[in-house]
Symmetry: C2
Subunit: 202 residues, 2 copies
DNA sequence: TCATTTTCCGAACATTGTTCAGTTATCGAA
DNA sequence: TTCGATAACTGAACAATGTTCGGAAAATGA
């Protein structure tokens, strides 16, 4: 029964090829241009064949969304502990920003930007993991245990919102000076939050 | 030549009817369900007839985006001066939030959410007007003239990003506790910014 | 009243996601 | 190896999308 295993490998390879193809098209021409037929052509299969590997086009997008959150979480988690928790939180924010513009297509599919949307896919576990990664980084900036009783969800949500807002407006071309100038706003924004939070804790 | 004027009125009325129809469908079923044929049916015309009033479906969306920004700007501008600039800025932020959830379809089309996107429509004047309205509210919280030399674009961008981020994540269902809990974050978020800015100015 | 222009519609076109009958390839057992 | 069954894949079609176009209908101005 080595044949079964080999076939299984081929399946995951094929699925990955489909995901890559979709991503590449999106990166080059935007998600609007990502069509089942074009993806099929890129993997050299018939359009109908894709439905053996994904139940629908939406399923492909959902898979990419989850992979995107997985990668983002990985990025944030891999920011080294630098002794100074504040410094690290700033670095995490930076890695968030960097990820968004290193993989714009992924970021877009993760947040339904650029004309993507799939029927109310509930928040995937990978996204929750990302939230947790962010929460851990935030939690570390609270020196004592004073605020550790709370779940810090408010702080994390606000922090996340600010990051997503910056990325989102920038990608939409709504920031004068574009990405270059917007990038300069990340660190000051982080510092604003930190300063207030630290004041809160005394 | 009263006939010409009357016809002109009919045209703007027709255009408005089309915009309303599109908006209503979006409000009830989401932008994915907004189709040329359905809009046409709702205004009791043939699909082809719409193209006498709008050059494309995208043109309809763009018109709605602009109207959305116009209304949002109006809302923010109509927040009364309450003596206390800080209080007013908070009220402006609240009116931003309220607008977003009073007209979710408009907010979505304004920011390319929910699967909307039209070929890189450059930032319309109405959006810039909204930015200015926000800037004026921010500018007022700076007591002296110390910071009035600067354009305050950084502060406004960050403020806007935070508001948009909160709305955006909430609409995407990414905030635990949903809209109700997220609404409670608006005021604290505003206060954080204000506190830091005031510290800056001394 | 009549010629002309505007307004509107029916029908079509290309492209989209998706399905399905059928063909081809693959595999496990005799 | 050979055969029957299962899986993999394709071609053609379907309905729905945005859009166009020739012509009908209506409004307009003389």
């Amino acid at each position: 029964m080595g044949a079964k295993d080999r076939r299984e490998n081929e399946v995951v390879q094929m699925r990955q090829a489909i995901l890559n193809a979709a991503c590449n098209i999106a990166a080059e021409a935007g998600w609007r241009e990502v069509t089942v037929r074009k993806v099929a052509e890129k993997v050299e299969y018939s359009p109908a064949a894709l439905y053996e590997y994904f139940s629908s086009k939406d399923a492909i997008l959902v898979a990419l969304m989850r992979e995107g959150f997985r990668l983002l979480t990985l990025d944030m988690r891999s920011v080294p502990e630098s002794g100074d928790a504040v410094e690290r939180l700033a670095a995490v924010a930076q890695s968030y920003w960097d990820f968004a513009f290193r993989h714009p297509e992924l970021y877009q599919v993760m947040h339904g930007l650029d004309g993507i949307s799939f029927g109310t896919a509930e928040t995937p576990q990978e996204a929750k993991d990302g939230f947790i990664a962010l929460r851990d980084a935030v939690r570390a900036v609270f020196p004592g245990n004073s605020a550790l009783e709370r779940d810090l969800y408010d702080e994390v949500d606000m922090f996340w919102a600010m990051l997503h807002g910056l990325v989102s407006l920038t990608m939409a071309g709504r920031i004068k000076g574009g990405r270059e100038r917007a990038a300069l706003l990340v660190k000051p924004a982080v510092e604003i939050y930190i300063a207030e939070w630290q004041k809160e804790v005394r």
